[in-house]
Symmetry: none
Subunit: 144 residues, 4 copies
């Protein structure tokens, strides 16, 4: 039997809160999604003013980061026309996100969740995701 | 020009909180979704132990209640084989929910949001949705 | 942090083997699918002669049993036109199976996997799924 | 009347076993899929630790290799922006894989199956697929 660690919904609140703080600092209202380690949604928050198209993009980023176990911006760099990983962006019924802003959430080197941010540029989304993770480790007593 | 009233994300928190309280009272962890008046997701929370299949069902219930402007259990009663509304459950790419647990959220007779609950029976889900609405009107100063 | 039990792939082999034995006894070649507790596929086997349409049906049954936490034949009885659960069969992008032959796999009262069988009648599929579970508990030292 | 050669499920086991051995050698747990000559799934195995997003990618690679009758890495080289084959990756409802790791399985110059590997890089996946084929020819008395 495998033994799997999974983020609880109360712990997901730290990620959401951290993302909200960072979004306000950047003055960009964001869609924020948190999935469990298997890629299934735990929590979602669309800040007032965040984009409607970003709802599913944020969810897909969180899914991809958790289930494919890499930040989505890494796949963006790999999935370039002419390169071996090109084409991965249309797999998983179009839910495999290769746009920066999705990060795996690790605790003691195990992926326990994924976070996805969307509404800004890929770079802005990624910064908010990173700030959310920093807040998460600060508030919890977990280490990556 | 139309002027549309739409629930803010902070106001959606009252619905989520009310649903969480009612779920705990019933001892059934729930998936809870809140959409705006256009049916687009504002907030989502999967309580620890809620069903994975209920993630999208809760979102679909909230979408349907807001966008089709009726409680989903009303459509359940209308969408019976041989009746004129039969078939509506497979419209909107399968996102039209006819299972009880989705309610429109009205303020001064205008629909401003939808709430969808899933993981229990249709009856249990509906009770939690109704409790969430009651809590919302209590905490806010809004009237239906 | 939640702590989740999940079937390993070697343990899934017991379910597959048990299903193969029971299928041969009934002389009906079957599609056999095993998912983890989150509904993601671990192992699949299409016996020679099993139906092509049953590939995805078996996978959907295993997914539903694990993720919605009930045998699929229970949902079949609930999802009747005019009843409150009618409509659940088209949720989850059409992957919510309400045809008998899907069973949750429990260990110490926790769902650790799902099994789905397809190619016979719903009754035949269910018998094979039950036989697979019996074989699993016999070969492993696990109790439901 | 056409007479079609098709891999049996017992013969598919050689491909799966060969892929498992090679994955362990590379220390990368893989998703392994085998389809028949028509592209329909025969057998699937997700080794403990393989990626969830790779479940459907492995199946798509095996499907493409069998049904389009070429290794998927060949399509990767052809499907480059500006080239005549560009766009093929979004055909077949997104199941046409152009990522290396899918190989047709030939016996006496006829395609009898497809194998798809996913969880590593395209190069790692391809090596495991090639090792699986080598093991298959060694164990069976078939020649390509």
């Amino acid at each position: 039997m495998l033994n799997v660690k999974r983020l609880s919904v109360e712990e997901a609140d730290w990620l959401i809160a951290g993302a909200v703080f960072a979004s306000r600092e950047q003055d960009i209202p964001m869609c924020i999604a948190v999935t469990d380690e298997s890629g299934h949604l735990i929590a979602f928050r669309r800040m007032d003013g965040a984009k409607i198209t970003s709802i599913s993009i944020a969810v897909d980023k969180a899914f991809t980061a958790a289930a494919a176990r890499k930040p989505t911006h890494i796949y963006n760099q790999l999935c370039v026309s002419g390169q071996p990983t090109f084409g991965i962006h249309i797999t998983n019924n179009g839910h495999f996100s290769i746009i920066g802003g999705g990060l795996p959430v690790t605790v003691d080197d195990q992926i326990v969740a994924g976070i996805g941010i969307s509404s800004g540029t890929a770079e802005e989304d990624r910064k908010v995701a990173e700030a959310a993770l920093a807040y998460f480790y600060l508030q919890s007593e977990y280490t990556p």
